[in-house]
């Protein structure tokens, strides 16, 4: 499965959840598949979805799901120790590990070779790290939501992108409606 197929499959689980979504095509796909006020789309700043989600989870009690990518985790690897040492029970970091920089044309990342993100997350101090194949993503995500124990979920899948329109919503609108959803 490719990322967009996973997102379509887990859309019912993501409904009404607070989601911080990775830059580029991941956000475009999520936006096209299931736009909702509780989606925070990153329009830039590669690498910080996991950090924004962690800050949000630490600041308020609702469950937060960051949908991140392998390339973005690799560019902000310092995030894993910060999550490992501070992870609140309401935080789920879901890394869609397609082994590539999808948005820029699927150039390979090192996770497609020798690098093991789940192992790195464990070594960084993350207590609940689950690695699954794409087809098992929905089940694993639902379990993580139900467990409320602060989970890092690594979802191994194929490279590839769906053709979706660019998000033209103003960033302040994205942020405002997201904050209203957080407060609701």
């Amino acid at each position: 499965m490719i990322r967009s197929e996973i997102l379509k499959e887990i859309a019912p689980i993501l409904k009404d959840q607070l989601i911080v979504c990775n830059i580029g095509i991941p956000s475009q796909e999520l936006h096209a598949i299931m736009d909702q006020p509780s989606n925070f789309y990153m329009l830039g700043t590669m690498g910080l979805a996991s950090s924004i989600g962690l800050g949000l989870a630490l600041a308020q009690p609702k469950t937060v799901i960051s949908i991140d990518g392998d390339g973005s985790i690799l560019t902000n690897l310092g995030t894993l120790p910060t999550i490992g040492n501070n992870c609140p029970s309401n935080y789920i970091l879901m890394i869609i590990d397609n082994g590539s920089y999808g948005s820029t044309g699927d150039q390979p990342t090192y996770t497609g070779r020798k690098t093991d993100l789940a192992g790195m997350a464990r070594a960084a101090g993350c207590d609940n790290v689950v690695e699954v194949q794409d087809v098992d993503c929905g089940k694993a995500l639902q379990e993580a939501i139900d467990a409320q124990n602060g989970t890092v979920l690594v979802v191994k899948c194929d490279s590839g992108n769906a053709k979706m329109p660019v998000i033209t919503m103003d960033p302040v609108v994205i942020r405002h409606r997201f904050m209203e959803a957080v407060k609701a």
């Binding site: 830039g44 924004i52 962690l54 800050g55 949000l56 630490l58 600041a59 902000n76 407060k183």
Partner: protein, 168 residues
């Protein structure tokens, strides 16, 4: 006056309850003070752009954030300041040690010091420079201004402000 205490008192008085830090020798006292206050959640970050991501999340979760970092981190965070903090219009007080200024013992620090104000100006980031201890009296107003304006704001604090480097 204990400037570490004054800075953290003002943070607390302005309801800043989420602070991330990357250390600088000059900031050791204020970081220790932040760490001791029950009103503040202190989360050290590994890189300053990561810290700004944490602050963006905390802000959207209803908390007032702040970051404490060295001026060299301006070189690390330009993209984040432009595409996250400014693009989404989020407030962020940045308490910055201004290394490489008068009384600096380490030559390499001067290399980023000479770019610091120019970069902040290019980014249109309101910037305040604390050189004398009494300059800290403005801190409370700077915090109010930051959360009024919904912008990142820089407070550069140089070695003279912190009382030099002691025996270093």
């Amino acid at each position: 006056m204990n400037i570490d205490k004054k800075i953290v008192d003002d943070l607390v008085a302005n309801d800043v309850s989420f602070v991330t830090t990357v250390p600088c020798k000059q900031l050791a006292g204020v970081i220790e003070e932040v760490d001791q206050r029950p009103e503040i959640f202190h989360i050290p970050s590994n890189k300053e752009d990561e810290g700004m991501g944490l602050c963006a999340g905390a802000f959207m979760g209803g908390k007032r954030p702040a970051i404490i970092m060295q001026n060299t981190a301006i070189g690390v965070t330009i993209n984040t300041l432009a595409t996250l903090t400014q693009f989404y219009r989020m407030p962020l007080p940045m308490i910055i040690s201004y290394r490489g200024e008068l009384r600096e013992p380490v030559a390499c620090q001067v290399e980023m010091a000479v770019h610091t104000k120019a970069l902040l100006e290019q980014m249109l980031i309101p910037t305040y420079h604390f050189h004398w201890q009494k300059d800290v009296e403005e801190f409370d107003n700077i915090l109010k201004y930051t959360f009024m304006a919904n912008k990142p704001v820089a407070i550069l604090t140089d070695a003279n402000f912190w009382g030099g480097y002691g025996d270093q």
